[in-house]
Amino acid sequence: MALMQGRFIDNIGRVYGLYTGGFLVFIILMAILEQLGVSANTIGVLFVAFTIGIYAVIGWLSRTMEVDAYYVAGRQVPAVYNGMATAADWMSGASFVAMAGGIFFGGYGYMAYIIGWTGGYVLVNSLMAPYLRKFGCYTVPDFIGTRYGGNLTRLFAVVVLVVASFTYVTAQIDATGTIAARVLQIPYSVGVWFGLLSILLCSMLGGMRAVTWTQVAQYIVLIVAYLVPVIWMSNVQDFGIIPHFTYGEAASTMRELEAQFGLNPPAEAIPGLSVLTTPHTSPVGALAEWRFITLALCMMAGTASLPHILMRYFTTPSVRSARKSVGWSLFFIFLLYFTAPALATLTKLQLLDPNLPTAVIGKPFEEVASLAWIQNWSSVGFLAIADQNGDGILQLNEFFMRPDIVVLATPEIAGLPYVISGLVAAGGMAAAMSTADGLLLAIANALSHDLYYKIIDPKADTAVRLIVARVLLVGIGAIGALIASLQLTSILGAVAWAFCFACSGLFFPLALGVWWKRANRQGALAGMFAGFVAGSAYLYYVYNGGTPWLGLDDVRFGIIGMAASLVAMVVVTLMTPEPDEEIQRMVDETRVPVGEPIIVHKH
């Protein structure tokens, strides 16, 4: 306990400095072991086991039975560290494992995710975080329920939160399962449960406090793991130590290589695997620009409505530090997101550029088939090569790969030592675990605080509430793992759905709750209901083969949901009486950064 109180906060810089140093020493130790002939598999296992072990220790040290510590980490997390924790909370398996792969195969169009997942923070900072912090709520439905009043509004917010976060968390558990399966050489269905167990180690005992301090640790692991291979590759290819500003030439070369090899669909597709068919640097096809900005807009509004992100800003000591912390969050996220296109470009160059020894496209088929990394990933079904035109040469449209594995496979493709692969696996695990923890906590807290405590049993005492919260955490995690093992859609697809669900149901009720004093309960109910139902119905329609309107496919259904939500909320609000004076005073108070919080929690 003592470690996590004042003494810990005072020494926080030293603690995480030592931790980072220790992690670097561990990487060097692994590199030495590899030189001494320890097998690649052992090194991979050591990486994952060591990092998860650390998180578990932090989780144990942060255990708590206090409500404030469990729900909002005692509201004493400094802005910089909350920024790191938010970055880890934010950057999921999708960002770490799948995004560079998405850019690799999806080309320019996929970069809408990069714009969406960074630009959204401007909305968080402008419209949401400082005001929600002033409000003093424990959860996002807590804000909706208090601002608009009534149990039904609270319940609607809980429903949207659960659907959005749950869609998201299955994708994260899926990612931990994929990595665990590859590193520990266990079946995917077992890997999923192993992943869930590691996730719960971090959050079960200490709630938000434990999740905060493990997320800081996880951020350090994931950013090191993401940057090291890119910087290494860049040096091998003579792009300098920091490739971000110098890979421009590679991006330009890509156009020539694309023209040389031809972007053609495969003669015979392989289910679940992709070939490269879209250009790297520019939009192509009908509605390309429109599709780009609609996707970016869904992701940005989703960012500003996803409860697991918003609730991170409830943990800071003041309104001002909440704002500062949004700035730090985006900075830490930016470090990874402006690296992802560099990673995708350099990896693509490794495979395509005939001047590099690692190139496989245009090489004799037999030679490529005998490469170790091709065999490793083929054996688990994540990669395939097939000489479909029978010319004995591997063509661009004969190289099949699951986009999700690009980041994990990059060190092997570039011929880096295995220690880097182990590091990347640990980084991917950290990214997926930290997000899963944030999401599971957001769901369990909404159900235990808003549904159980506020609606079902307002007299429940502290100990019971915290036990309910933990039971829910484990139960929801188990359901998530069960669904993840069914593998319904690719990692990135399910994540985009979560953003669309969140922005359909919550964006306008949250933003207008602060920015439009006239907004009332009826309007908020109508906004949440219409947005969520319209969005879900549209998703159902396109997912089952309906023709998308204006190119709005299943990852862009938030546009439909948000439009319905805004119209319904404004129309219904204007048709019904304005909120009473007490509510209006509450909104006035929310807009001022000083003074008592709106919700004063009694314990």
């Binding site: 960074t118 330009s252 900075f331 930016f334």
Partner: protein, 86 residues
């Protein structure tokens, strides 16, 4: 009381104006730039096709700066109205 209310109204007006300026700039980088990527790609910046550069890095840097600038201006507004004590 009326003075207090008046000060709060002016505080909120300034805060709102700042927010609007930031959101207009935000929309420029996140929603307008993607519309003109193809023409921008004919220009070159640091060896990159410019349109690609803006999406891969330029707009991201702009977002970070927007938050920094907004927080700096908002702190000034908070100080002006005496809402800055923590």
């Amino acid at each position: 009381m009326s003075d207090n209310t008046d000060a709060r109204d002016r505080y909120w007006q300034k805060t709102r104006n700042l927010t609007i300026v930031i959101l207009v700039l935000w929309a420029f980088f996140s929603l307008f730039i993607p519309l003109i990527v193809s023409p921008l790609n004919n220009l070159t910046f640091l060896g990159f096709p410019l349109g690609y550069y803006m999406i891969a890095q330029g707009s991201l840097i702009a977002f970070v700066l927007l938050i920094v600038i907004q927080n700096w201006r908002q702190d000034a507004i908070d100080r002006e109205f005496g809402f800055d004590e923590e």
